[in-house]
C-alpha cells in the first residue's frame, strides 16, 4: 500500500502511537493483521504526519505568543498598528493550501487503492462470503461450500475474502478492526468488501452502525485458520444436519440472540439473492406496547 510521507516522522509516529496502544492489541486498528488494515493505517499515519508538520509549530506558536506578549512583559514590542500584512496573508493562505494539496494526493490514491469493492489479488482466488445482518446477529453464508454460520466467521489465513453484504432489516456496518475497512449492510442493497487475514488468529468483529436494542451484542469472532484446517472445518459444518432455507431463515431473522453459534450444513443457494432483491420481505421489528412504548423480540 502506498505511503506518501517522509520516512522518519512516520516511523516515529507509529512508535508513539503503538506506545499509546501498548499492551492491549485486542481490536486495535493500529495493529493490522491484513493488507487492507495495513493500508488504512498507512493512510492514517501519513495524513497525520503531514498535518502534524504544521500543527505542532502552530501549537507552540500559540503558547509562545501568548506568553511573550503578556501585558506584564516589558521586553515585548508593542505593535498595536500591526493589523495587516499582505505577505503574512499570502503565507497564511498558502500553508494550509499546500498541505491540503499534498493531502489530496493521499486521499485520491488511498481511496482508489483501498476501495472496498476492489478485489485483492487475482480473481478466482478469493473466498466468497455472503453476509446478512439480522436483528441482532450476523449470518455468514459460504456459497461455494454450501454452509452458513451465525456470529462465527472462519476463513483461511492468507487468502483474500470477497464479502457481499446485505441486511435483513435496518442498517448495520460490518467491521473487523484488525482487518481494516468497514462497510454498511443495507436491506434491498448489496455492498462489497474485500479483506484478508495474513496470519491465523481470532479477531474481534462488530457492527459499527447502531441498529436497535440488541446492538451491543452484535459482535462476532473472525477466526483465521490455516487452509487445511479451513477445509476440515467446512467439512465438519457440512456434516451438521441443519438446513438454511427460507423457512429457517425467517425464524432466524426474528429479533433476538437465540441463534448465536448456530451452523447450517446445507444452504438454499438462492437465499442471499432473494434477500437482496427483497423477494424475501424485510424482517419485522419490535412490537408496540402500551404507554407508547415498544418491545423487541
Amino acid at each position: 500500500m502506498s505511503v506518501i510521507a517522509p520516512r522518519v516522522p512516520r516511523a516515529a509516529l507509529a512508535l508513539a502511537l503503538a506506545g499509546l496502544a501498548s499492551g492491549c492489541s485486542g481490536a486495535s486498528v493500529l495493529d493490522p493483521a491484513g493488507p487492507v488494515a495495513e493500508g488504512n493505517r498507512a493512510n492514517l499515519l501519513s495524513a497525520l504526519a503531514i498535518m502534524l508538520a504544521i500543527v505542532v509549530p502552530t501549537l507552540i506558536a500559540i503558547i509562545a505568543f501568548a506568553w511573550w506578549f503578556r501585558a506584564g512583559n516589558p521586553r515585548a514590542k508593542h505593535r498595536p498598528e500591526f493589523v495587516f500584512s499582505g505577505r503574512i496573508e499570502l503565507v497564511v493562505w498558502s500553508i494550509p493550501l499546500l498541505v491540503i494539496l499534498f493531502l489530496s494526493g493521499v486521499i485520491w490514491i488511498g481511496s482508489h487503492r483501498l476501495a472496498p469493492e476492489a478485489p485483492l489479488g487475482p480473481a478466482g482466488r478469493a473466498l466468497e462470503v455472503q453476509v446478512v445482518s439480522l436483528d441482532w446477529k450476523w449470518l455468514f453464508i459460504y456459497p461455494d461450500e454450501g454452509i452458513a454460520t451465525v456470529d462465527r466467521l472462519v476463513v483461511p489465513a492468507g487468502r483474500p475474502i470477497r464479502f457481499r453484504l446485505t441486511s435483513a432489516s435496518v442498517m448495520n456496518a460490518f467491521f473487523v478492526p484488525r482487518l481494516g475497512s468497514m462497510i454498511y449492510a443495507m436491506n434491498g442493497m448489496e455492498t462489497h468488501l474485500h479483506l484478508q487475514a495474513d496470519r491465523p488468529g481470532r479477531y474481534y468483529g462488530q457492527s459499527a452502525q447502531f441498529s436497535g436494542d440488541g446492538f451491543a451484542d452484535m459482535h462476532f469472532t473472525l477466526q483465521a485458520v490455516p487452509p487445511p484446517e479451513f477445509a476440515r472445518w467446512t467439512a465438519e459444518i457440512r456434516g451438521t444436519g441443519r438446513t438454511l432455507d427460507r423457512t429457517s431463515y425467517r425464524a432466524l431473522a426474528q429479533q433476538g440472540h437465540a441463534a448465536r453459534g448456530l451452523a447450517f450444513g446445507r444452504v438454499d443457494p438462492g437465499l442471499f439473492g432473494a434477500i437482496v432483491t427483497q423477494a424475501i420481505p424485510p424482517a419485522a421489528g419490535p412490537k408496540p406496547a402500551p404507554g407508547g412504548q415498544q418491545v423487541s423480540g
Binding site: N40, F69, A76, P80, S111, H192, G292
Partner: protein
C-alpha cells in the same frame, strides 16, 4: 382508540426508577420555581418584562438561560452514559438496560445540539448583533419572540418524554429504516420529530431575522466591511440556517409522512430509499456543524482582539475565510458515510472537498495568532476560554481532516475516535465559545462582571476534564471501540473507559464552578458593578452604550465614519453621545411587547403533544387556536410605543450619571 389517543396511565414509567426519579425531580424543581415566582408575586413582572418582551436583549438572555438549563440536562445524560458503560466492562450489567441507554444517548445528542448549543449561539447573536451594528432593534422583533418560544416548546417536548412515554432510541439523527414505524413503533421517534420540527422552525425564523437585521439595519456609515467580525460570523451562520434548515424540515416531514400515513420515502419496502434519508439529513447536518461553530469563531475574534489590545489581524482575510467556509460547507456532506460504498471517485472527491474547508479554518487560526503578535495580552476568563479553544480546536480540526481521508475513515467511522472528534470541535469550539461570550457580554447585559476567581477555576477544570475524557476516547477509538455500545465486550477498553469517567468527574467540578461563579457574582454584584459600560476596554459599539443598555440601545444613533478601527469609532460614539444637550434627543419609537410568540408556541406545544399521542381532536383544536392567535395578531392596530425626547434624555442622563 380512546379520546386520548395512545395516551394512558401506562405511559408513566412507574416501574422504572431512573426516568421516574429524573422526571419527578425535574417536575419538582419546576414547580418549586413556579411556586416561588407566585409567592413572591413576580408573575406580572415576568409576563410584562420577559415573557412578552420583544426586546432583542431580553430574548437573547432568555435563549441563553434555556441553553444553560439544557446543557445541564444533557450533561447529566453524559454522566450516566459514561459511568454506566464503565460499569459493564468485564461482564457487569451496569444500571441502564438497552432501552434506556439508547434513549439517553439519543436525547443527549438531540438536546445538546438543538436545545443547548444552538440556542446559546442564537441567544448571543440576538443580544450582541444589534448593539454591535449600532441599531435599536432587530428587523422582526415579534418574529424573534416567536422563534424563541418555539425553541422552548421543542425543548419542553423532549423533556416531557422523560415522564410520558419514551424518547427516540435511534440516535440524534434518526436514520431510516430504524426510525420508521416498522422498527420504532413507540412514541419516541414521534417526540423527536415534533420537538425538532417545532424547534427547527423557530431556528429558521431566528435565522431569517438575523440575516435581515444585518443586511438591512446597520448604523449610518457601517458598511459591510466595517462590521465587527462577530456580525460577519452571525451573518454567515444565519445564512446557513436559512439555506439548510428547510432541508431538515422537509426531511423530517417526509419521515413523519412515512410514520403517520404509511408513505414510503425512506422505508425498506415499496421502493423507499433509506440511503436518501442519510443523504438528506447530512445535507442539512454538515452545514449545521458550521452554524454551530461560526458564531463561536466570531466570539473568539472579538475576545482575542479586545484582550490583545489590538484590532483583529487580517480582517478582510477573516471575512473571506468565513464566506469560504459558508459556501464550501454545503459540498461535503458525503464524508459522513464514506462507508456506504459510493465508490472511490465519489469518496475521494468529497474527501478532498472536506479537507479544503480546513484551509479556511487554518487561515483563521493564523490570523488570531497574529492578532496576539505585538499585542498587550490580558488574561481574564473570556481570554482563557479563547486560548483554550485555540489550542484544543486545532487538534479537533486535525482529527476532522483525518476522518476526511476515506481510507482512514474506513477504520474510524462510528468509532469513539469520531465521537472524540466532534466533541473536540463542539465542546472546545462551540461550548468554549459560548462560555467565553457569556462571560464577555454578561456585564453588558446585567451591569456587573462575573467573578474572575470562580471563572478561572471553571475554565481550568473544564479544560482538564475535557482533555482527559476525550483524550481517552480518541485512544479507545484507535483501539477499535465503536460508539453507542450499551455494554462492552472487550476487556482491554476498560482502563480507557475508567480514565474517561475520571475526566467526567473533573468536568463535573468544572460545571459546578461555573454555576458557583454565577451565584457568587450575583451575591457580590455591588462589588462587581461596572458603571462605565465598558469593563474590558472593548473595541466595538456595544461597549459605547451604558450597561444594561436602555430599551432603545442608543439614545442617538452612532455615526460610523472612515476606515478606522472600531476602537476609534467607539471613542467618537461615546464622545458624541456625552456632549449632547437635552434638546438634541429625538423621540424614539419601539415595538410594543406582544404575547403572540408565547401564545403561538403554547399551541405549537399542544399540537406537537397531541400528534405524538395521536389525539387528533386536540391537534385540530391546537391548530385552530394557533390560527386564531395569528388572526388576532394580524388585526392589532397599536403596535409601537414611543419614548418622548424628554424621556430619552432622562433615561440617558440617569445611566450616564451613574458612569460619571
Amino acid at each position: 382508540m380512546s379520546v386520548l389517543g395512545k395516551l394512558d396511565w401506562s405511559a408513566i414509567p412507574i416501574d422504572q426508577p431512573i426516568p421516574l426519579a429524573a422526571g419527578g425531580g425535574a417536575i419538582a424543581l419546576m414547580l418549586a420555581a413556579l411556586g416561588w415566582v407566585t409567592v413572591k408575586g413576580h408573575w406580572p413582572y415576568l409576563w410584562r418584562e420577559w415573557i412578552t418582551s420583544v426586546d432583542h436583549k431580553r430574548i437573547g438572555v432568555m435563549y441563553v438561560v434555556l441553553a444553560l438549563a439544557m446543557l445541564v440536562r444533557g450533561f447529566i445524560d453524559a454522566i450516566m452514559m459514561r459511568t454506566h458503560q464503565a460499569l459493564t466492562v468485564g461482564g457487569g450489567s451496569g444500571y441502564l438496560p438497552p432501552e434506556h441507554f439508547n434513549q439517553i444517548f439519543s436525547a443527549h445528542g438531540t438536546i445538546m445540539i438543538f436545545f443547548g448549543a444552538m440556542p446559546f449561539m442564537v441567544g448571543l447573536m440576538n443580544f450582541v448583533v444589534p448593539l454591535q451594528l449600532g441599531v435599536r432593534d432587530v428587523a422582526f422583533p415579534r418574529l424573534n419572540s416567536t422563534a424563541f418560544w418555539l425553541t422552548a416548546s421543542g425543548a419542553l417536548l423532549v423533556n416531557l418524554s422523560l415522564v410520558l412515554g419514551e424518547f427516540a432510541r435511534t440516535g440524534w439523527l434518526p436514520y431510516a429504516p430504524l426510525s420508521e414505524r416498522s422498527y420504532s413503533p413507540g412514541v419516541g421517534v414521534d417526540y423527536y420529530l415534533w420537538a425538532v420540527q417545532i424547534g427547527g422552525v423557530g431556528t429558521l425564523m431566528a435565522g431569517i431575522n438575523i440575516v435581515t437585521t444585518i443586511v438591512k439595519t446597520r448604523a449610518p456609515g457601517m458598511g459591510y466591511l466595517r462590521m465587527p467580525m462577530f456580525c460577519w460570523t452571525a451573518l454567515c451562520a444565519s445564512m446557513l440556517i436559512v439555506a439548510a434548515f428547510p432541508i431538515l424540515t422537509a426531511t423530517l416531514t417526509m419521515l413523519t409522512l412515512d410514520r403517520y400515513l404509511g408513505f414510503h420515502f425512506f422505508t425498506n419496502a415499496a421502493g423507499g430509499s433509506p440511503m436518501m434519508f442519510v443523504n438528506l439529513i447530512w445535507a442539512w447536518g454538515h452545514p449545521e456543524v458550521y452554524i454551530l461553530i461560526l458564531p463561536a469563531f466570531g466570539v473568539f475574534s472579538e475576545v482575542i482582539a479586545t484582550f490583545s489590545g489590538k484590532p483583529l489581524f487580517g480582517y478582510r482575510s477573516m471575512v473571506a475565510a468565513t464566506l469560504f467556509i459558508t459556501v464550501v460547507s454545503f459540498m461535503v456532506w458525503l464524508h459522513h458515510f464514506f462507508t456506504m460504498g459510493a465508490g472511490a471517485n465519489v469518496n475521494a472527491a468529497f474527501g478532498i472537498a472536506t479537507s479544503i474547508i480546513a484551509v479556511g479554518t487554518g487561515v483563521k487560526i493564523y490570523n488570531w495568532l497574529f492578532t496576539m503578535y505585538g499585542g498587550r495580552l490580558r488574561f481574564p476568563t473570556p481570554m482563557l476560554w479563547s486560548l483554550g479553544f485555540l489550542f484544543t480546536f486545532i487538534i479537533g480540526g486535525m482529527t476532522g481532516v483525518l476522518l476526511a481521508v476515506p481510507a482512514a475513515d474506513f477504520i474510524l467511522h462510528n468509532s469513539l475516535f469520531l465521537v472524540a472528534h466532534f466533541h473536540n470541535v463542539i465542546v472546545s469550539g462551540t461550548v468554549f465559545g459560548a462560555i467565553a461570550g457569556y462571560t464577555f457580554w454578561f456585564p453588558k447585559a446585567f451591569g456587573f462582571t462575573l467573578d474572575e476567581r470562580w471563572g478561572k477555576r471553571a475554565f481550568w477544570l473544564s479544560l482538564a476534564g475535557f482533555v482527559i475524557v476525550f483524550g481517552a476516547l480518541y485512544i479507545a477509538g484507535l483501539e477499535g471501540m465503536t460508539r453507542r455500545l450499551q455494554h462492552v465486550a472487550v476487556a482491554q477498553w476498560g482502563p480507557l473507559l475508567y480514565v474517561s469517567v475520571a475526566g467526567v468527574a473533573v468536568m463535573i467540578a468544572g460545571v459546578a464552578a461555573q454555576i458557583t461563579q454565577l451565584v457568587v457574582s450575583i451575591r457580590r454584584r455591588d462589588a462587581l458593578r461596572d458603571d462605565t459600560g465598558d469593563p474590558w476596554e472593548g473595541r466595538s459599539l456595544e461597549w459605547a452604550t451604558p450597561s444594561p443598555p436602555p430599551a432603545f440601545n442608543f439614545a442617538t444613533l452612532p455615526e460610523v465614519g472612515g476606515e478606522e478601527p472600531y476602537w476609534r469609532i467607539k471613542e467618537r460614539a461615546i464622545a458624541s453621545q456625552q456632549e449632547r444637550s437635552a434638546s438634541d434627543y429625538e423621540p424614539i419609537t419601539m415595538p410594543r411587547r406582544s404575547a403572540t410568540g408565547f401564545v403561538t408556541a403554547f399551541f405549537a406545544t399542544v399540537i406537537g403533544f397531541a400528534m405524538v399521542w395521536q389525539i387528533w381532536w386536540l391537534a385540530a383544536l391546537g391548530l385552530v387556536c394557533a390560527y386564531g392567535a395569528f388572526v388576532a395578531f394580524a388585526w392589532r392596530d397599536e403596535n409601537e410605543d414611543t419614548f418622548s425626547a424628554e424621556e430619552v434624555a432622562r433615561i440617558e442622563r440617569a445611566r450616564r450619571g451613574a458612569a460619571a
